[in-house]
Symmetry: C3
Subunit: 122 residues, 3 copies
């Protein structure tokens, strides 16, 4: 049950939000073997000046940062995470987001760290 939070420019979200959503989802399915109906994404469109970033730190050529936070259970080895990053960036590239503009940040949690609407046991 990965949960995705995306910070990006409002124009970009308006122009390509749906394609970006599908691309990220496709990348997670492909990279993590995630079930296709495991879909939880939040988009936070930003106005001018709200996303501040280095244009070239680490050797990338950034023009319009798309920040993708993935919260997921600690269960994937490093090479699977790497495969997921590559798959998400490749699908985003096809949706018109340059891979240099992608920043993915994973936060790992435990299985016990989720509640997802299960019936109340009282």
């Amino acid at each position: 049950m990965p949960m995705i939070q995306v910070d990006l420019r409002r124009d970009l979200f308006q122009a390509k939000g749906e394609a970006i959503s599908k691309a990220i989802h496709a990348g997670l399915i492909e990279g993590l073997d995630m079930p296709a109906d495991d879909l939880f994404q939040v988009y936070r469109p930003h106005d001018e000046g709200e996303i501040v970033f280095s244009p070239d730190f680490g050797g990338a050529d950034r023009r319009d940062l798309v920040l993708i936070r993935v919260t997921m259970v600690h269960m994937f080895p490093a090479d699977v995470k790497q495969r997921m990053y590559t798959a998400v960036a490749r699908h985003l590239e096809a949706a018109g987001v340059r891979h240099d503009d992608v920043l993915i940040s994973v936060v790992e949690v435990g299985f016990e760290d989720w509640y997802s609407g299960a019936p109340l046991s009282e």
Copy 2:
């Protein structure tokens, strides 16, 4: 010092924001034995299309997702977390939020991972 970040629809926040805030706070107090004056919540109201979710993944019947991120110190055993989830969902249900629409995601940190306005030591 749990810190709460909530993503939800703008209409829902406008209609029930205060009741939702009180319900989440009551659930944390009850579930974690948290002091009543330990209150740190951020609400992020969303427009149409910004919250994307599966209506039925994991067997829930979702119509209007309320995503609650809880950042807290790693100190609570799994059954206490479970008690907190149940308490938050029950209080939210009383405030008019169906428990199927609740998604809680916990991220654990250390005691040393907080600064909260203590006097500067220089």
Copy 3:
């Protein structure tokens, strides 16, 4: 590659956003010996009622909370984190943000938990 997410009042962001950005960045450079071109910050301006907080929990005197979430690699000992908190709060104080109004929350991740626009290997 620390990644910074800041929740604050819209008025405050409009009046002092740039100074706040520079202050946080200066605090991280000073406190963590971070390279000056390692800059990734997202600001989320909030309207009335979206930031809910205790005015005095833990002995602070809060009037206008600025919540700073720092996601960074697990590699800094507790005293270095403490030095970073003090440096950020001091620089913010110089930018007109009272240190009592600052809340910093660190989340630690691994080196493998980042993708930052590296060329796709396929």
